[in-house]
Subunit: 304 residues, 4 copies
């Protein structure tokens, strides 16, 4: 066996990390917004990395993208117009388009994430960018939401983690969620990726409290799913003025999946749905924490 | 921040590994059976490592031990006598004793695992070794089972992974499970840890087929749980001549927990139970594999 | 301090390696001949890596290039025509041209090494490729030498290590050196990089014996120099039909340097010369080894 | 090949490190003074590590110990009484005793370094602790020197690097060297290890200037030697009121070695001597630096 000599090391904390051996470096650039790397790894195949954090891998991306998109989309009775903030690699757009939407707008700040993903990991978008219903806007998602204008049934936040030195932190604040809520049609829902429920449960909890403050008691919730390349259960927080995804029964989900003609789900499904919403005691015990919410002045951060 | 200089690196594959920074090395010895290390890690606290594989950590051990023990114990109407093979650190024994058993026999091959765990990570056994109902035998579990003699209601296999160069492989074979079944009282159950359902799903599936061959169609099953320090969902396989743990309802479990006076569960519980048994499609699709079973002549192995 | 997440790890042995944190990946490609990587490392600046082995770094390249080129060039009374095999990054050519040569031919097998070095680490060639006296041939150095034709005063082998799976091994054999000697003018000299005198002293010794067999007793020698990025003393072997570089006095060297107008030497110089040729006892004790020489049928290898 | 799972990583800088695979951990303890680890490494055999820095390895310790001890000892006409500060593993004492001294006093602050080295790496002291001429004092070398009392011909500083958070820094100051000079007999010499001449040349230079300030212009000097496990050339600084080691001729050294009956030198010797004192231009250019010296109030530090 030959020893790998190129490694990508993702730290969960300064003393805990996942090492990925790299077969080939396909793309690497420092853009105006972040470092982008596309690696072909031995274990996970092609992998998109932003500022040292795994975003998506060919091998396991469906754990994440299916779990981010389907619970809220299926709970909405008729999601015609969907807004995706971030999501540059196209996996979220791909899943959204399976729900018979009329239009999906994706706003990503970094053209080079979109382009490098299309070129080097086309499996992620799988043609979604060529779908006539998709509109891709290169721009600042925060600014797009602040300006308002169009309205959507579902907003999906597929953005980078709220790192202390990164730009993502202002996409997890009370002000941001309030502006986003204003873009929702009646009965609409917003969902965001919300970091690890194990390594950064306090951050997950704070995002929950922030969304709840904007949408109101009983109108926000959290769930999580295992994502292999993240070494962890990965959390999602939603706020809704419509049906709560948590309350969807197996039969309702089955019917919605059938109705929309969705086939070939690989991880998420009507059976798995309830498990995503079953948070372990230590997570639910953490939810109220110190009661604080994230604001533009005092955002939330992941520890690393 | 000072840079950690001692690292324990656990490989899932030759090109994917988890690095753990070590604060202190508490114990390290090569015994007649294996390398034992007890590290105080920055992220997981005290950690027992055998032959380079994490066994238990202070911080997250309950994910594993609760999931290994409680599903089969709660499904058994009256587990009076329990046999644990392996389990040297005492966490499995600790959980078993909460079920009102009359006797729990633990057979571990390596006295030094038991002693070093007691000394350096006493939280794992939490006094279980001093319980009058516990009997610890230092000896070869395979030989103990082969000889037969005593009979048990539940047998719990808390042993090291079936590594190609390790001794564990012969504790996962048809011959072994047949001998173990012979030690069960009527209606008894055996459960074994069964490696990752992500990184080594073929190994998990082969253990399932092997146990099923011994217990018969419909009398074996698998489930899994997230274990943080294993970076993965971790699998368990059981075979039973009694009630199938999978079929236990929330109410039945609630009643059993109450009846036995079990309190303070941290991860597993009547709510979580069904999730453990909800395997994703890619795992269930892998179960039949090539149809082979593990035998003494041709055991199963983890890839690394 | 932010933690580096991209690392290049160069193994000296399977259990000893140097980790280099990478600031930027400038170029990475698998060519027909090898993997080429150009990294901008935190500690060594821009670095050319071939098949996982550091070749040259901006920060320390002069230790190697000055030591490879100047001892034999200064010992030759009038090196008008010089052949370089390998040397794609241009550092060897750069140093050769300082000796008032009429012509320097460089034969490197991989056009992409030459081009990527010129583009990403221009400091290495420092304009040498534009010098009218330089001729760059993209081709197989072994074939070039086998065919013969032109004759040279000095031949410099600046090629990759003789790795078991690499193409370099046949550039260190008796047959190759015999053909190379046939290309030398009367009184000519050949010098080759010859791996570490610490980590692979047996390989260094075998190259010495092989060159000695071709040039004759007393007409070959070895020396070494510290190269920081190689973590080691690095060896060179020469064979000559002219003056032995080892015998050059400080005054002779001083005169030659002055005569050729060489200024700005950074590591090598008339004072340092004798040190390069002072091999420690454990190296000289290793030179005869098992007496074997490297042949096309049985080449020599580095351990990793 | 099995993958190593225990690694010791020594950082030269936050982005450059040497990884050593560990076969066995023989001893590991946090004492009142420092972390001590004794590892059996695959590449270097048994290795003493203090606070994450390699001190000595079985395989390559002679590079360091011979170079630290012999140049100044041979330059002194009759070194009867020698003081070693630090040196707990005993290698320096071992080499000192070969010079026909009457008495060698070793003062190490940490009893556990002495004891663990004796127990786990007895090759380092090789019986020196049992020599009737050796006196081992467990105590603070700085305090020992401050108190004064006995006088010595040679003082050898074999202490840990001047790390910002470590206790070693106050053993490299003007005040310390002044006190040490007061303990020297007429014509005496002090020598200290002085960190890397490559990775921390500014620190090396400052130690030089500090010793020179105490001993006077022309009465201090520096030299260096390759030490494999340090990945670098390693520096030493001396100050003397007697003969300058740098001026010793090959013949004088040869005679002294013969006279004292020293045999079996492995790296250092009369031939190598001059090379140790031949510093490359970039080192000599760095010596004057900003002109500052290290004082108790403003000590010098290695970068990491």
């Amino acid at each position: 066996m030959s020893l790998g000599w190129k490694w990508f090391t993702e730290y969960q904390t300064p003393y805990s990390a996942h090492m990925h051996g790299i077969r080939e470096i396909l793309y690497s650039e420092k853009t105006d917004f972040q470092h982008i790397d596309v690696f072909d790894t031995y274990e996970y195949g092609r992998m998109l990395v932003l500022d040292g954090k795994v975003q998506s891998t060919v091998k396991d991306e469906y754990f994440y993208h299916e779990s981010l998109v389907h619970p809220v989309m299926l709970a909405h009775p008729e999601p015609r117009r969907v807004l995706i903030i971030g999501g540059g690699e196209g996996g979220t757009l791909r899943e959204v388009l399976r729900h018979g939407v009329k239009k999906a707008v994706m706003v990503d700040i970094d053209r080079k994430v979109v382009e490098s993903s299309k070129k080097y990991i086309p499996e992620l978008s799988a043609g979604a960018f060529d779908d006539g219903r998709a509109e891709v806007i290169i721009g600042d998602g925060r600014e797009y939401v602040r300006r308002g204008g169009e309205r959507f049934d579902v907003i999906i936040m597929d953005v980078t983690d709220p790192l202390e030195e990164g730009p993502g932190q202002l996409l997890y604040t009370e002000e941001f969620y309030a502006a986003a809520r204003n873009m929702l049609h009646k009965g609409g829902t917003i969902v965001t990726q919300a970091t690890s429920t194990y390594y950064s449960v306090d951050c997950f909890a704070k995002i929950f409290r922030t969304v709840r403050k904007v949408f109101g008691e009983g109108r926000a919730g959290g769930y999580h799913t295992f994502v292999p390349a993240y070494d962890s259960m990965w959390g999602f927080i939603y706020g809704t003025d419509g049906a709560d995804p948590k309350d969807m029964s197996r039969d309702q989900l089955e019917a919605a999946v059938k109705d929309r003609g969705i086939t070939g789900l690989r991880y998420y499904g009507p059976d798995m749905h309830a498990c995503l919403f079953t948070l372990p005691k230590e997570v639910t015990d953490s939810l109220e924490g110190d009661g604080s919410v994230a604001t533009d002045a005092r955002p939330t951060f992941m520890p690393i």
